[in-house]
């Protein structure tokens, strides 16, 4: 690698940055950090609701990654490895603070009331097309912690229910039911938010 390229660390590919980071190259560490910082930080922020905690956890996740980078063999995608590590760091923190990660044995069975409220003559107020990132972000922030964890892991970060169940220590059925309840709650929050805006 030429000196010019060494100076412009941001031009490294991820694979090149990984190899150079194993040799202790500072610029390579920075490249890897810049590539993944937003995703890791956003995850931490969604789960903890606190910027200071999210920054601490982001720092911890990257430090754990960089300490172990010498042993990365490429069996899985680097981003997958980092992301899984970040989730574990956040979940560990939530457990240490005794914050609820997911309610226990809470399923949909037995809920007979239902969500659909029949209002004869009421206009069909769909949300589709009116959800923007900020409104959705605000609504997610208002979710109860257990719902928020599952929603963030599944819908935001893309984990499957079997992966979520393993990470948070619940059943797959529990994960599915919590996700559904989270989405229903978000719908309710977004409709209330839209109605309030319409009144102003």
């Amino acid at each position: 690698m030429t000196d010019a390229r060494k100076q412009q660390g941001e031009k490294l590919t991820e694979a090149e940055a990984i190899e150079r980071a194993k040799q202790g190259d500072a610029a390579a560490f920075k490249v890897l950090y810049d590539l993944h910082k937003r995703r890791v930080y956003s995850l931490c922020l969604r789960m903890t609701q606190n910027t200071a905690s999210a920054e601490d956890l982001t720092q911890e996740a990257f430090l754990q990654l960089f300490r172990k980078i010498g042993t990365f063999r490429g069996e899985s995608a680097f981003s997958t490895w980092l992301h899984r590590m970040s989730v574990n760091v956040v979940l560990m923190q939530l457990r240490k603070k005794n914050l609820p990660i997911v309610p226990i044995d809470d399923t949909l069975e037995g809920d007979e009331e239902g969500t659909i409220k029949k209002e004869p003559g009421a206009p069909d107020e769909r949300l589709a097309g009116s959800i923007d990132r900020l409104r959705l972000q605000r609504a997610v922030d208002e979710l109860p912690p257990g719902y928020r964890t599952i929603f963030v892991l599944h819908d935001v970060e893309g984990y499957e229910h079997n992966e979520i169940a393993e990470m948070v220590g619940c059943s797959i059925g529990n994960s599915k039911s919590q996700l559904h309840k989270a989405r229903l709650k978000l719908r309710e929050l977004l409709r209330v938010d839209r109605a309030e805006k319409a009144r102003k």
């Binding site: 610029a27 930080y41 769909r126 990132r133």
Partner: protein, 221 residues
């Protein structure tokens, strides 16, 4: 199918394809149809939240500082120890000359590990014969007397007035601390990516630093 029955199967519907029965209900029920559309919209729009935020610059600064202090950053940029970056027990420095000594210890460690040709004369005295892959590592439990660096000799001179038995104990502790550092460094020369040995080396330096601080503290009284 009633709305209640439809709702029971709704989770699978959101993440999959409605069955013919479910689709028939959706075609005839605007409320359920609206609900399904909203939930699908929420699920798909949720991806906007991934990687939406950016941490402050302080996060990277803190990471870089830790990487340097742990010896994981070894190339591309000069090694330095900013005074503010010292760990908490370093706040008890009483003798001003110990500050550059701590920095010198870290610099020597990095130089020895990764640029052996840059060793100066003082440091060369401490280096044993290069270890080849076939040579066994020395028996660490045997009492060894590595040669003393200039900083070590300066430190011993500050406690020269102590009783002989105490002085002998300090010297023994110093030899053990140096032996730990040497053995960890030699292991890392064979395998620089050994993260456990990197941690061992940092622990070895922590012990030597404690030795410097505690003995100097006692001398000042």
């Amino acid at each position: 199918m009633t709305c209640l029955e439809f709702e029971r199967d709704l989770p699978e519907c959101v993440e999959g394809v409605p069955s013919p029965e479910q689709q028939a209900h959706l075609n005839s029920c605007p409320a359920c149809s609206g609900l399904l559309l909203d939930l699908n919209s929420i699920a798909s729009q949720a991806k906007m939240l991934s990687a939406a935020e950016e941490p402050s610059a302080a996060v990277w600064n803190a990471i870089e500082e830790r990487l340097r202090s742990e010896g994981l950053i070894r190339r591309s940029e000069p090694v330095y120890l900013p005074v503010e970056a010292k760990p908490s027990f370093m706040q008890r420095w009483r003798a001003a000359w110990l500050v550059p000594v701590a920095a010198a210890l870290a610099v020597v460690a990095v130089v020895k590990l990764y640029h052996p040709t840059r060793l100066n004369n003082d440091d060369a005295k401490q280096v044993q014969q290069p270890i080849t892959s076939t040579a066994p590592v020395k028996n660490a439990s045997a009492k060894r007397k590595p040669a003393l660096s200039h900083e070590d000799q300066q430190w011993l001179s500050t406690v020269a007035a102590r009783p002989p038995a105490q002085l002998a104990k300090f010297r023994s502790d110093l030899d053990q601390a140096n032996a730990f550092i040497e053995d960890a460094q030699e292991s890392l020369q064979q395998d620089p990516n050994d993260v456990y040995m990197q941690q061992m080396l940092m622990n070895a330096y922590e012990q030597k630093q404690m030795l410097y601080e505690l003995v100097v503290d006692d001398s000042s009284h």
